[in-house]
Amino acid sequence: MMPASLRPLLVAGGLLGLAGFVPLVADGYWLSIAVTILMYVALSTSWALFSGPTHYIALSTGAFFGIGGYLVGLGMSDYDQSFWAMAAIAPFVATGLAALIGWATLRLSGVYFVIFTLGLAEMIRNLISWIQNNFLGSRGLYVLTDLDERHIYWMLLAITAGVFLFGWRLGRSRLGFALRILGNDEEVARHVGINTARTKILMFMTTGFVAALVGAVVAPRYYYIEPNVVFSPELSFIVVIMALLGGTRRLYGPLLGVIPFTLLWEVISVSFPNATTMVLGLTFLLIVYGIPNGITGLLSGFAARRSA
């Protein structure tokens, strides 16, 4: 008999192994969809690790993702660095920035944090554009690598596996327990000895790290990087929607949101490109009014009713 706690790990390992073969059977259109899905799985799962228990809605994914992509482009084009060096550096830059933002905003109530992250990607884009125009010369940045879609897929798969492993470990760790307590009652959390500010900042840094790493890894997909492309406020919202659609109470929740939403998004942006914003809005409304606990919440609701 194996311990019950190891079973999900084995299931996940099996799925991961299967997912590794996708590039061997799919190519072109479907491979690119698979890459997109993996990208969003990594982003929204790490988002949910922080925002799920704390209820702080982070809209900073776009900013950190952009930092990852932009730094790879900048390093490779202007400073003759290798892709690998920049992909290694970028997440730490984003983590440092996340630490600063967290330090300034996470000591206060959730509203301040949401507002601060709301315009963050836009603000950084403005700032970088200005710096680039005035000091760096406004040349485009090129990311030229030998990496093709399959390599990006495998790198993202590794990152996703890392995020899941981290999340699984977190659920069994003191840090994870501290997060749950402070999500219930921050006052009590402080009084039982939890450094609530540090806990929140650490988790926020983790999401910053993952977002920048993902941004760096998918940079070769763009070839040509400019701030307007990589700093997309829309990305932040999509990640939030996917995580909430799936549900944040289970580690695999965001995964269940990413797959249907990515497919829907593909169809909409191909067939009705003008309607994407509206779809985004309607999905937000659907989540709030229809499935506040996400798909996983719906499923466990069904399960509870059947056993009752």
Partner: protein
């Protein structure tokens, strides 16, 4: 258990909220194994004093030390790690955690730290200690008022605090529950715990406290055994309103 040496020192502590002086230059000591009652009329500064010891509020001036640790400027969580635990005037249970997890929460991050199976066994022991052994698998939402108070007490005990703050822990209990509550605190006293008790229930003060401190309008007006303090003319005038 007979009280030992002083471990908690409150020196000339003052707390101002804007123009309002809530606590005015108050000093006292608490000895190890001692139950000290903190009494006074409503709004006299008892809760503010408790909040400064637990770290929820910072003193405007003065100092508070516990076993050599300076609590005055420390963050709330640091006070907990230095050995202060508390219950809240209005019960605060963690609604999405199980009964057992609610107690473990007090054991993991605080003064004496435990984790894993050790923390679980320790928490289960505490639940039995406060009389909740049978409710260990009950949904948190189904606990009665006194059971919630017990649960909160178990959580506070889980850090094995050097000093335990009970902020009107007996308030709102009916006579029969009150008896259970007083017996429970009395048994903690027997174990030699160091406790500061804020209470309005005079019978509880008389039967539980080794020593009492009376404050009125933020100022200390008397200190001594419950009997001595409760017969002090100043205290009677300010607080009991008799005679």
């Amino acid at each position: 258990m007979t009280p030992g040496d002083p471990i908690l020192f409150v020196n000339n502590v003052t707390k101002r909220f804007g123009g309002l002086v809530a606590v005015n230059n108050v000093s006292f000591e608490v000895r190890e194994h001692e139950v000290m009652g903190l009494i006074g009329p409503n709004g006299s500064g008892k809760s503010t004093t408790m909040n400064m010891i637990s770290g929820a509020l910072k003193a405007t001036s003065g100092s508070i030390t516990l076993k050599g640790h300076d609590l005055t400027r420390a963050k709330t969580f640091e006070n907990a790690r230095f050995g202060v635990s508390r219950t809240f005037q209005l019960v605060r249970i963690l609604p999405e955690l199980s009964v057992l997890e609610n107690v473990i929460a007090g054991a993991v991050f605080g003064h004496k730290r435990r984790w894993g199976a050790e923390a679980e066994a320790f928490a289960a022991g505490l639940l039995e200690r406060v009389g909740l052994a049978e409710r260990i698998t009950a949904p948190v939402g189904s606990l009665t008022y006194i059971d919630q108070k017990r649960l909160e007490l178990a959580r506070a005990l889980a850090g094995e605090p050097s000093v335990l703050l009970l902020d009107e822990w007996l308030a709102g209990l009916n006579p029969s529950e009150l008896k259970v509550g007083i017996d429970l605190v009395a048994s903690l006293r027997q174990e030699g715990r160091t406790i500061i008790l804020v209470e309005h229930v005079m019978d509880a003060i008389r039967s539980l406290c080794d020593r009492c401190l009376v404050i009125n309008s933020g100022t200390k007006i008397a200190e001594g055994t419950p009997d001595a303090v409760l017969s002090d003319p100043d205290v009677i005038r300010a607080y009991l309103g008799e005679g």
